[in-house]
Subunit: 369 residues, 2 copies
């Protein structure tokens, strides 16, 4: 079923990631971002595309970033600063800078702290979108550290259990953990049952929605499939408002857990950083939290990696359910996708290619594809 969301091959062009990354960096640079930050931001976006996380790559996100810079909602030259600090912690005010550019800096700070005390944890306020949360968590992997990243997204889209009003962002949680011979464990999940853009995508493609994703206008979970054309445009519009159910979907199936995790992200990213919560701020105001754990501070690294290999291998070689071909572990589909896309290129929809050429032409930068 999830295959339905994939772009059909005939509508795509394969672009080598190097060309894509250089072009994206040129766009950022032209919008006023310094060269180093432009490079770093383009790496975050293209890494999402390489991993097959198209929702967080250039196709969806870049145009919203370009618009944000052009409309003055994202600050290209933020005076970001550490406003509070202790040996293992820091809070950063991002001065309206883009999360994909500032979160790697925050993670590097968390890693520096973890090198000294074993754990580093940094909260960020007044930021903008951070792209694929997994990128930032995975940044800890090259130090053989565990990386964690959460983000309180600006727009309330998710219902509390038994609620009728959207009160929480989709609030993703990501954790990246190194292994030995196996690929790293990388979890990256919204705390809603489905990503927000899947609803709009289903509507655009005319695909039936699965049960457990959205609610009736009266707040009660819709647990049966519904036709895409019945999805409305928002509160007060016609059809079902596209507010999302928390992970777990209904109280009986544990939606209070997804709701609770969503609240936890609001608090650890937003309230702990002094950035408030989604309902208070404007939709551009994102709050984040990153953390790094030095494995050696808990156990011998080599032993840890060997046990990780055993654990991941056990899961992957366990018996699949009838009708399924294999059991996968978090991070595995993306790892496999990246291997393929590194060699074959990143499939971009022709409409995205057109947008790139038009945007590059308007900004007078070179489009390398």
């Amino acid at each position: 079923m999830l295959e339905k969301f994939r772009i059909k091959d005939e509508d795509t062009v394969l672009v080598k990631h190097g060309f894509l990354q250089t072009t994206v960096a040129s766009i950022f640079n032209k919008l006023g971002v310094n060269p180093e930050d432009s490079e770093s931001g383009s790496e975050v976006l293209v890494e999402a595309d390489l991993r097959g996380v198209d929702s967080h790559g250039v196709s969806n996100q870049l145009r919203s970033y370009v618009k944000g810079y052009q409309e003055g909602r994202i600050n290209p030259t933020p005076n970001w600063r550490i406003i509070r600090e202790s040996p293992s912690t820091a809070t950063i005010d991002c001065d309206g800078g883009l999360g994909i550019i500032l979160t790697p800096k925050a993670m590097d700070l968390a890693i520096q702290k973890a090198k000294i005390t074993g754990v580093g944890m940094v909260t960020m306020r007044n930021s903008r979108h951070l792209g694929m949360a997994a990128y930032h968590a995975m940044r800890a992997l090259k130090y053989d550290f565990i990386g964690l990243c959460m983000s309180a997204t600006g727009t309330p889209l998710v219902l509390p259990t038994y609620g009728q009003e959207a009160m929480l962002g989709t609030n993703p949680i990501s954790i990246a953990i190194p292994a030995g011979k196996e690929h790293p464990f990388v979890l990256d999940m919204a705390t809603s049952s489905i990503a927000a853009n899947k609803i709009q995508l289903a509507k655009r493609l005319g695909i039936e929605l699965s049960g457990g994703w959205i609610a009736e206008p009266n707040g009660n979970p819709i647990m049966d499939k519904i036709p895409a054309q019945e999805i409305g445009t928002g509160p007060g519009g016609t059809g079902y408002p596209p507010v999302l159910l928390p992970l777990g979907s209904s109280r009986e199936m544990g939606s209070h857990k997804g709701y609770g995790l969503g609240c936890m992200v609001e608090i650890l990213c937003g309230i702990l950083s002094g950035g408030g919560f989604s309902l208070l701020g404007d939709r551009d105001h994102y709050k984040h939290m990153v953390a790094a754990y030095d494995i050696e501070a808990f156990s011998p690294l080599q032993e840890f990696k060997e046990t990780m290999d055993e654990f991941l291998h056990s899961l992957k070689s366990s018996k699949p359910a009838e009708g399924q071909t294999r059991v996968m572990v978090p991070g595995q589909p993306e790892f496999e996708e990246k291997t393929e896309r590194l060699s074959k290129g990143i499939p971009l929809h022709i409409e995205v290619i057109t947008w790139f050429r038009k945007t590059c032409s308007e900004l007078e930068v070179e489009c390398l594809f």
Copy 2:
């Protein structure tokens, strides 16, 4: 629907928590636990009963602990020791000691470290059951710290997404966060869609199971209601094996997220502490992780508490779904229950009262009710 799991009033006796706690401490003490640890362990158990978390209070857990001590599976005088340490971290080998007694010590160590560096994080291996995870997370509240507790439970009971074999424990996650005038935020959730003992309880009481809780023997999620008598006794037995689905229940509704969180708990508690993972160890081997965050290390405490009050109040005063009376926040039902039980007493089933009197008589300790 969840009300069905409550004990009917006519079958219960109300017991004052002080009498219950003293009696439980006497039992622990008689089983070889020192007086101080006996007190501490009884506090953890009775706190679960006070909060209405009966599944983790004296009724279910105490008899399994008594049996564990009597059969030599729990060590009453563990030589627990810190085997690795850094300014913000530690790993403890618990020497087979009971988690309800040793986890408070680990949390106190995490708090000590957080006082100095801002964050403390302690993993524990070779432990036994830790009772209600929320107790340990909440221990940080009196310092105005955020507390976190996870536990990798010994027995594989939860299926991976698309899997047919139970590979993970129910692996709870708890986080406790202080507020100002509002009660604290306390999330305590298994990473399965339903707690394991709810399945057995439904079977005993002859209650229909909700969809999304368990799987067909071939691993495919059962998304419709099923009669309790169709639940089997385990792999190879008749009926549906009582293996649990991860939070999210089916792939479409996000079970890969619950599965991913379950894996995360296995790794942070088990592999990070050097204690391995559930599939490797024996069923008595529990692994835990606790952490404490000093709020002041990130933001001014008073401001944090005021924003927490605003956040919790916003959620609680948001419009309920049709047919529901109110929106609650994590920790609220337990807080309300505790207020009532502190004054009225803890309702214990007559069968539990009988067990207490018999056990006290056998152990030659006084039963105070």
